[in-house]
Symmetry: C2
Subunit: 595 residues, 2 copies
């Protein structure tokens, strides 16, 4: 049976020593969170995820969700009670606007709790995560009445949310979507169409489900410019907030998936269901993108979470499983030693851990930018934070889910044959983590978003600010001999990233295929630099603790993990650059029939 | 529903133009195989795998194997009939010694058919593959009587074989094994113990199952020097070859696995089962290694096979699925185009295909060495072939299964959300391919075998011969401008491999941890060089066809795929070298508790 312990100390170290969140005490919600309170909140959240959610992970995988003939869906045993407990403990509305019943704490905390929950039980975490994203979309684009009607119930977890984008013939290319919205006389719309891959589309956790649905109002322009966003509640809401008639939306079937069996992934049929327009007609994609961007950070946290639980279990196994002897063992030693003595096992564990710590730092960095972007009164700060958030969201989504998945596969290898059978639970991490590379925009789309949209935006303002910050850090710390081993590989990788960016500028402006051909490697190169930068910052903080005689074993370990990352991961930047420079020519030469 | 078409033309091109197998006409079994006959054999085998085995793959995954309370195991519907047809068509004994009813064709052909069968249905292919491996072990180490008793039945597929190594507390470290063999009065042994993860341990495909079991004769030395190999038939064999009493070996349970559900992975209980010693007492590991090495090439073929079927289905999907538009599409074009127009989709497809073609060339190269090693009358040729076989077996097993798995994951990404649901079948490729990285020696063990054993063996004779051959090829073709783009990146990677080998010599002799710490990257660096060398040879052959006005679209495509591989894959060699040079120091510094 796998187990989980939330990395609370690591998170607290990041908050206090690396991100130094006390700098943001002037933002709403931040001043309340003293170091002690943060510790209490995170310990509680960690305990909840470990004690309540994680034990339901393996059973939920085996049992799965079930659809009854009438279209109702039941979640695995224990999910309902756990969801109620999750909601009652306040985890759902942790950062939500107090005007609607939220606790108003920094969004940062929601991102942290999301990592813990996604590590413990990704299927479960999807239910609450989508509700938070629906909250954000309605908050940003809904009318006052819609906010009043839906937000308090969403925050309290009485109702849940979904995102309805995909249709059988239309995934990435939303311009093709066919779901129709026909105006009713009362100002609402009748929604007709079919949506697929709808996470949490139908379930028994909440009394109502608020579907956010993209559809095309009759007569709207073709393509993405004719898409509107609608609220389609499972049960219509009466003026007195009571639940009214059952709406004409139903779960047609459940998808049989590789993993996340505990989450109900539904085919949803809209047969003239009553829908309420959110925001302006034909501006639905903008509104949905609020939800999508929030969800993308959530999915990045899933990649990290799965990598974290995979690490923990692999490390525990490696300390327990005895097989072979170390090179330093006496020649006549007959007794086998724990496999953690073997360099190749350490290579795997340090590879995973080296990612996890830096990825967490990066995710929290960006979550903090989201807080600044939404809560600061300083316009310049808001803009800079918003730039950074936009730039790094695709990097986080793409890189944390790709490497997070790879790490579950690495962790599985530590278990040998035991990794392949269900009992140990690690093969489930692999199956569950795989989805995160696909949904909320497949990672190839994240790469295109980064290269095709985010780089050039505002004349490259966001990426230049990023380069300037990293260069500033390197310069500032150049005189510190202990940080040097972190700065040199970082500097080299930054140079490669700069070269890659220049290569795009020189080659892709006239021929965008050149950028598309290198986008994926660019995204990973960017991720590598960002993670390397995080390691340099973590190392600086750990060294500072050491200088204050406050060094613990944990800090020593961090410095070693970071050194491993710098030695072994950073050299990849050269390969990425070489691939980017290879360009599109060879790739685009074969005709389609040749493949 | 996934589909499969065996890459017969690609294989024939490799046989005739790249490997030029007509050079080996002096070896037994080779002269019979004219180009025409090879084409007929491979087309037939391909058709069988595509038409009979592949349709059972998805159904077999869903149905799985079932164990009845009495310990009997049934395979999924259709497996029994397919196995009979497989055997009757002669695929099982294709290369087996004619003295025992085999057809005596080159082993090369068995390796090719194994790739086809493993692509179509890896669960199915395991049943026959283990039987072939058992045949090889008994042929090499069995007594004349054992050969007479077991080999004809194994060749004809009336009986099947298994390998019994692993025990609950003992996987990689076979020295720990506890299964006991107590001498009976009749010269046989009573086998007591439990084995786990036994592929094809019990099933309904054959009338008898011949278990090859590692056990420790009472009083034998501790560790690997006290292990003996036994034949333990499910049904004892009477002197007249009829089946006698049921032996005391039974399937205690089936493992619940991530994939290969169609193969029965058993816990096997030996409760005083009658066993017959194979070869010398306490020399069991040597005998088992015959089986193991054969099985390792088989597993390499599984990695390649899964990568091949994943490619085929992803390419078909990419040509069919319409989503988005190419950069060259007219601005006002409303209709979406097949996703194969997108560079990132081509990146994925060419990455997979660039591996598949070179990996197949390498696998067949090495299979040919196995033929020479076993069939040549020239001692020097036998030795050189045996060296090459020993050197490249761990590389093939480790690299073809690692990258084969990665490629199934890449292919899955082409399908977007559809790749995650069972219907399309591609998620099964991921689950099935995963096991190949683990069994027959986890890939970390392959890396240690390469670096710790094969490199230094006979003063590095094998690796030096490999370097000399590649250097010779580069020199020989240096004047050909069309081959140059293949030689330059190859030369650079070879240099990195040489540097890595030197680094080990300089750093690991006194401190073997330095080698173990870099072994995994070294194995992949070696694989990269070997695959790059294959591409150079394929390119040469394709260019020769072009020079003879015999260029087809397929040859043009090969040159493009090869160019892609050289541009995008070969630069990885620098990263691998950097990691190797990072050494063991950082890795070994943390104490076990820190992890």
């Amino acid at each position: 049976m796998p187990s989980y312990r939330a990395p609370v100390e690591d998170v607290l170290f990041l908050l206090t020593d690396v991100l130094r969140i006390e700098r943001f005490n002037n933002l709403p919600g931040f001043s309340e969170v003293t170091e002690d309170l943060a510790s209490v909140i995170l310990s509680e959240a960690g305990r909840f995820c470990a004690d309540v959610l994680q034990p339901l992970n393996q059973t939920g995988d085996r049992e799965g969700c079930k659809r009854r003939p009438n279209g109702e869906v039941t979640t695995p045993a224990g999910f309902k009670e756990a969801y109620r407990a999750f909601v009652e403990a306040g985890w759902l509305g942790l950062s939500a606007d107090p005007a609607y019943g939220g606790q108003g704490l920094p969004y940062l905390f929601t991102v942290i709790v999301n990592e813990f929950a996604s590590a413990a039980n990704i299927s479960f975490a999807l239910y609450s995560g989508l509700t938070q994203a629906a909250f954000a979309a309605i908050l940003t684009h809904g009318s006052d009445e819609q906010k009043k009607t839906y937000l308090p119930k969403l925050v309290r977890g009485a109702w849940s949310g979904t995102m309805n984008l995909t249709e059988p013939h239309c995934g990435t290319d939303l311009g093709l979507l066919k779901t129709k919205a026909i105006p009713n006389e009362d100002g609402s719309y009748a929604i007709h169409g079919q949506k697929i891959f709808i996470s949490a589309g139908e379930h028994d956790l909440t009394e109502n489900i608020i579907h956010l649905v993209l559809a095309r109002i009759e007569g709207a322009p073709a393509g993405v410019k004719g898409i509107s966003l609608f609220i389609v509640p499972k049960f219509l809401v009466e003026p007195d907030q009571k639940l009214g008639a059952r709406n004409a939306v139903s779960c047609g079937s459940l998808e049989h998936k590789m993993g996340i069996h505990g989450n109900a992934t539904c085919v949803m049929n809209y047969d003239g269901a009553k829908g309420f327009l959110v925001g302006e007609p034909n501006k639905g994609l903008n509104a949905m993108f609020v939800m999508m961007n929030e969800a993308r950070l959530g999915v990045a946290g899933q990649g990290l979470g799965q990598s974290e639980i995979a690490y923990q279990n692999a490390a525990a196994y490696a300390k327990d499983r005895k097989q072979g002897r170390s090179f330093s063992a006496a020649k006549d030693q007959a007794e086998p030693e724990p496999i953690i003595v073997h360099p190749d096992i350490r290579r795997i564990l340090l590879t995973i851990r080296g990612f996890n710590e830096a990825a967490r730092a990066l995710l929290l960095c960006v979550a903090l930018e989201a807080d600044v972007a939404h809560r600061s009164e300083d316009e310049a700060a808001r803009q800079a934070a918003s730039d950074r958030l936009g730039l790094l969201t695709p990097v986080l989504k793409g890189v944390l889910t790709d490497i997070g998945f790879d790490n579950t596969v690495l962790a599985q290898q530590v278990f040998g044959g035991h990794g392949y059978i269900g009992e140990w639970g690690v093969e489930q991490f692999v199956r569950d983590a795989r989805i995160a590379m696909i949904y909320e925009g497949a990672n190839g789309i994240q790469a295109l978003d980064l290269v095709g949209r985010k780089l050039a935006k505002d004349n490259g303002r966001a990426v230049m600010a990023f380069f300037a910050e990293v260069a500033g850090f390197i310069k500032e710390n150049a005189a510190e001999p202990d940080i040097k081993p972190f700065l040199e590989p970082l500097e080299k990788a930054v140079e490669h990233l700069r070269d890659a960016s220049l290569w795009f500028m020189n080659n892709a402006l006239m021929k965008p295929e050149q950028a598309a051909a290198g986008a994926y490697d660019y995204m990973h190169l960017f991720g590598l630099v960002a993670l390397g930068y995080m390691w340099a910052r973590i190392a600086k903080a750990a060294l500072a603790r050491r200088a204050h005689n406050n060094a613990t074993q944990a800090m020593e370990f961090k410095l070693l993990i970071g050194a491993f990352f710098m030695e072994r991961m950073m050299p990849e930047s050269a390969t990425r650059l070489a691939r980017i420079r290879a360009g599109a020519e060879t790739m685009m030469a074969p005709s389609a029939e040749m493949f």
